[in-house]
Each structure stands twice: as structure tokens, then as C-alpha cells.
């Protein structure tokens, strides 16, 4: 019971912090700069890491309590040396769940093991800077991983470009398997194909802020 109360209080504090932060930010947008968040809360050490899209909220967690018990631990790990044994079973379980989402099973057991091991050991993007990145029509995200899983040689730079629909790539990869493309018959989509403003092809690439 004490644990539940502690989690409830933590959620409440997090919520209050968000609302307070937003209200403060709202005022500051019109009159003055916001207070940096370090003035509100402080935690020493690693806070977060990012590599693979939705590595946490879609691929790792399997229940509401994981938000409090798993994600902070994962985020605080070294992204090049995750505690593999802590996470591999969860990544594998969720991958198997996604695999049958469309009523078919496209992931082989070896592929599930390979990708869940990779996700549980590190959170990073793979890029081959010697291969082409087509910035105008970006279809490179996870291409290197998909090629490896299906025994092929990759054809693009991999990595991730800002205008690529990474959610559609993720949905098709998880549900339809590593051989599936995001176009063609049976392809899945969420119906949102670009951000508020597209990124440009000149430094600093990302579109100007929304006023």
C-alpha cells in the first residue's frame, strides 16, 4: 500500500510539475523567459537517451506500472551498454504480440531473438555514411536493420531523416515483419504523413518554430 501511495504521489508531482511548467512557460512566452527546469527539479546522472523510435513506450513497456518501474531504469542506463538481461524478455514478448496483430506471423523465432537482443543491449541508430541518403524522398530508417534481419545487404544510409514517416515504418516493421515495406498492398499507416512543417535541405534543416 505504501508503494502504491508513493507512486500516486509521484504521478501527482509529475502532473503538477507539467502543469506548473506549462503555465509558467505560457506567461513567459508573452512577457519573459521561462525558468529552466533545473530550477524546479533536480536529479543527478543520466536522464534520457534516444535512438530507435518508440523503443520505450511501444517496444519495451507491457503494463501501466512499467512507466514507473522500467522506463526510468532503462533511460538511466548507458545506451551503449544496457542491462540486457533486464529488458530482453520484455522486448521479445512485445515483438511477438505485435507480430500477430494482423492475424499473421511474419517474424521468425531467430529474428525475434536477434532484434530483441539488439534492442536490449543498446539504443542507437545505425548509419552507413558511404551509402546514399535520398533526403527528398526519405526511406532509409531501419533499412540497415531490416536488411540484416532478412540476410540482405543494405542499400541506403540507414540512420533517420526528419521528413521520413518513422511511425509508419515502425508499425509495418513490428506488425508486418522485417521484410515488409511501408508501401504496397497491406501496408499500414496512421494517416499523418508529415510534421507541422517539413524540414528543409539547408542547415539547420529543421523548420523554424511555430509562433
Amino acid at each position: 500500500m505504501k508503494t502504491i501511495k508513493a507512486i500516486a504521489l509521484t504521478f501527482a508531482f509529475a502532473s503538477a510539475s507539467l502543469v506548473f511548467g506549462c503555465a509558467q512557460q505560457g506567461e513567459s512566452a508573452e512577457t519573459q523567459p521561462e525558468t529552466a527546469s533545473e530550477d524546479l527539479v533536480m536529479f543527478p546522472g543520466s536522464v534520457d537517451h534516444v535512438g530507435i523510435v518508440e523503443s520505450t513506450t511501444m517496444m519495451l513497456v507491457s503494463g501501466a506500472t512499467d512507466f514507473a518501474t522500467v522506463l526510468d531504469s532503462y533511460n538511466q542506463d548507458d545506451p551503449f551498454a544496457l542491462k540486457t538481461a533486464h529488458y530482453q524478455a520484455a522486448f521479445a514478448k512485445n515483438l511477438r504480440k505485435f507480430d500477430v496483430r494482423d492475424g499473421k506471423s511474419e517474424w521468425t523465432p531467430d529474428q525475434v531473438t536477434a532484434f530483441s537482443t539488439r534492442m536490449a543491449s543498446g539504443n542507437y541508430q545505425v548509419i552507413d555514411t558511404s551509402m546514399p541518403c535520398d533526403y527528398a524522398t526519405p526511406h532509409t530508417y531501419l533499412e540497415i536493420e531490416r536488411a540484416q534481419l532478412t540476410g540482405k545487404r543494405h542499400q541506403t544510409c540507414g540512420g533517420r531523416m526528419p521528413n521520413e514517416d518513422a511511425m509508419d515504418v515502425t508499425l509495418n516493421f513490428l506488425i508486418r515483419g522485417p521484410a515488409a515495406n511501408i508501401t504496397g498492398p497491406g501496408a499500414l499507416r496512421d494517416g499523418v504523413d508529415q510534421a507541422t512543417a517539413k524540414s528543409t535541405n539547408t542547415f539547420p534543416y529543421l523548420a523554424d518554430l511555430n509562433e
Partner: protein, 222 residues
């Protein structure tokens, strides 16, 4: 009152209180700690070869999924890009030896709460044998709310940009939590109109440890 910021915060509030696993925004707010610490909450990473200059690698990290024009980076956080070579293309495993790691670490100083949003950025690229430091202010006339600097083949931008992430939140939840068909019709972007704090780095590919690389971004509170 910044209603857009509040509009994104309230769903996140609901996520925190009612359905913590339904954040589904790339890497936005993916834990209690990052929910509290938005200036260190990484939202996205991008890595690609420059479309203008194929000799350059570009890396982008975004934080602070509810940023406004006056948002600042945290002076108490190191913002890191970490790069390790991949020796075996068949396994795609980063080099385990940390001594082979290259990095770019940006830290910030100055900027007075409620008075001055401009910060001083110090970004240090550790190539292994050599280092390159780039210093600049995060506000300049060149951008609406950003600044940049360059030195020794490294160019860096830091400031507020439009959020690059996009998804239909409702459809994504259906894909994850139901077995029902999901409409393929046009959706609604959960992140429409939102901003982030971005750090953009452009670096000569020749300075990197190889063509096949593993790259991650990390925030570390000092």
C-alpha cells in the same frame, strides 16, 4: 497563457495519471523522470548525410517537447551525441571498447530566468586524437530563436525549432492495444504546432571513425 503548450501538457497529464503507457510520441515523456525534467527529455534523434554537402554527417537531437520561443536548455545538463564504429556489418554491434567512442557534448551557461533567454553554448567534439570546441550564443539575428557557430569542420546550431515528430495518437493506440482494423484515412497530428529545443551538428565525415556507425543521444544531469 500559451494555450498550445497547455494543450499538449493536458493530454500528457492524462497519460501520467490514467494510462501511463500511452505516450506514443517517439521518445517524448517516456518515464517519470523525463516527465519532470522536460529540458532533459529527449524527444528524437536524426542522423543523415547532408543533402547539400555529401562530405558532411548531420546529427540532430531534440528535447523539451513543449518548448516555446523563450525556452532554454538546462545549464545543469550535458547534451551528448555519442558515436561508435561498427566493425562487423553482419552483426551491427557497436565497438565495445569505450576508448573508440567519439562524442559531441554541448553545455550551456548564462541566460537569466525571467530576464534573458540567451545562453552561451559550448560544444566540444571529441574525435579521439583531437578535439574541436565551438562556442556561440543561442539567440542571434540569424534565427527567430536560435544561434550557431562553426570551427574546424564542425558547425552547430542550438535553439527552438518546429517539432519534427508526427503521428495520429488515437490510431496508434488502436494499433497497439486492439486487434480491430484501423482506418487508413487521413489522421490528425498529435504534435501539430508544437516546438522543441534542437541541437544540430554538421561534421566532416572524414573525421569520423568509419562509414558504418552507431549513434545515440543522451542527456546527463551534472
Amino acid at each position: 497563457m500559451n494555450l498550445k503548450a497547455l494543450a499538449i501538457a493536458l493530454p500528457l497529464l492524462g497519460i501520467l495519471v490514467g494510462a501511463p503507457t500511452e505516450s506514443f510520441a517517439s521518445d517524448h515523456v517516456d518515464g517519470l523522470k523525463t516527465a519532470l525534467d522536460n529540458a532533459a527529455d529527449l524527444t528524437d534523434l536524426y542522423t543523415f548525410v547532408s543533402p547539400k554537402d555529401p562530405t558532411k554527417l548531420v546529427m540532430v537531437l531534440n528535447v523539451h517537447g513543449i518548448a516555446s520561443s523563450m525556452s532554454r536548455f538546462s545549464n545543469a545538463v550535458d547534451y551528448k551525441f555519442r558515436i561508435r564504429p561498427i566493425d562487423d556489418a553482419t552483426k551491427l554491434t557497436p565497438a565495445p571498447d569505450a576508448r573508440r567512442e567519439q562524442s559531441m557534448v554541448c553545455s550551456f551557461s548564462g541566460g537569466i530566468p525571467f530576464i534573458d533567454a540567451n545562453q552561451h553554448a559550448t560544444c566540444t567534439f571529441n574525435f579521439g586524437a583531437t578535439k574541436q570546441v565551438v562556442r556561440f550564443d543561442t539567440r542571434s539575428d540569424r534565427y527567430s530563436a536560435g544561434g550557431d557557430g562553426a570551427a574546424g569542420g564542425v558547425r552547430v546550431f542550438a535553439g527552438v525549432r518546429s517539432d519534427t515528430w508526427f503521428l495520429d495518437g488515437g490510431k496508434t493506440v488502436k494499433y497497439v492495444y486492439s486487434n480491430e482494423p484501423v482506418s487508413q484515412a487521413a489522421g490528425s497530428n498529435l504534435l501539430e504546432g508544437q516546438n522543441v529545443l534542437s541541437i544540430v551538428v554538421e561534421v566532416d565525415k572524414a573525421k569520423l571513425a568509419g562509414p558504418l556507425l552507431a549513434i545515440t543521444a543522451q542527456t546527463v544531469r551534472k
